[in-house]
Subunit: 192 residues, 2 copies
């Protein structure tokens, strides 16, 4: 039942998000983040080139995992089945630490126009990554673009529910994102 105990990299992320929430993104320095995390500035710079990259780092991992999951789906998988495989693979980086951090991250983003813009650009890069991975599987362009958008909507909606859900710590992110994808697939039948 112990509080999640992260390593230096994760402590830096938690410290940064807390400081962004408390005093804003612009006012927070690398020195403050390192101090709050209980590490030296050199340790910060071993993990991240600057404070902005600290937020972008997770995005690149996410794009890579979504791409790998889509590429590794069975050859006869439909576009949305391939997207589901991507969402499942991407969820492996999001453990209890990410879930614990989520409400604070949300508060930090809500308080900063710059972080809101970063967050928006992040979701667009996820859609582009999924679309490219689907095109690489031979999915024709308009279908791939559409499936990529469904994937990103499913990720955002599933992540938000997972982060807010009071049902406890045992629910895995993949369950939420795949349920959201199913809901969107059902909704696509009523577009008219």
């Amino acid at each position: 039942m112990g509080r999640w105990e992260p390593g230096a990299r994760e402590r830096l992320v938690v410290a940064a998000v807390d400081l962004f929430t408390e005093q804003g993104y612009d006012a927070t320095t690398v020195a403050q983040i390192a101090e709050r995390a209980g590490v030296t500035k050199s340790t910060f710079f071993r993990h991240f080139p600057d404070k902005r990259e600290l937020l972008v780092a997770g995005q690149e991992t996410l794009c890579r995992l979504l791409t790998e999951g889509i590429a590794g789906a069975p050859g006869d998988a439909t576009p949305l089945e391939a997207v589901a495989a991507g969402l499942e693979r991407a969820a492996i980086t999001m453990g209890p630490g990410s879930r614990e951090l989520a409400p604070r991250l949300k508060a930090a983003v809500a308080a900063s126009t710059e972080l809101q813009e970063r967050d928006t650009l992040k979701t667009v890069s996820l859609a582009a990554a999924m679309t490219a991975a689907l095109v690489a599987r031979g999915v024709p362009d308009p279908t791939a673009a559409l499936a990529g958008e469904l994937g990103v909507l499913a990720f955002k909606r599933g992540y938000a529910e997972w982060a807010e859900d009071a049902r406890g710590a045992d629910g895995e992110l993949a369950g939420y994102t795949l349920a959201a994808l199913d809901e969107l697939r059902a909704a696509s039948a009523s577009l008219g």
Copy 2:
């Protein structure tokens, strides 16, 4: 057959896009834009608070027209029929001047990370505007979000084809965006 002759506001937009293309967004000043457009700096500031807003101004008009078009669609219109009404209404602001400007705007955006980010944020705000307008019509949330994304994909794809199409100056933007929406609707049947 004369070259399109815009007013002061449009001349400022054309001058800005040309300067952004030639020397980059950061290096371009309001004074240079006004000089190129053949107006005074005060005229610039009567139209736009700063050079960034010059690019954002069009986005607000676009969001408003998409929203009005969706709100004004017949009560029994399906979500995608309402989106089509929004795309049709939005196209009225995009005349021959916009089409002539499009390749230069594309080059300016390709050369500037800041403009790429602006452009990305713009498309996300269009999706949000369409989704909100659909929710206001009583379209349930997951369907509205999906239809909003289809609308923005249709706008982006239709606009890109309209701007690049060599068939001449008589094609209206609405024909392109509505055809793109039809293509995406057809593609949604093969998502699996």
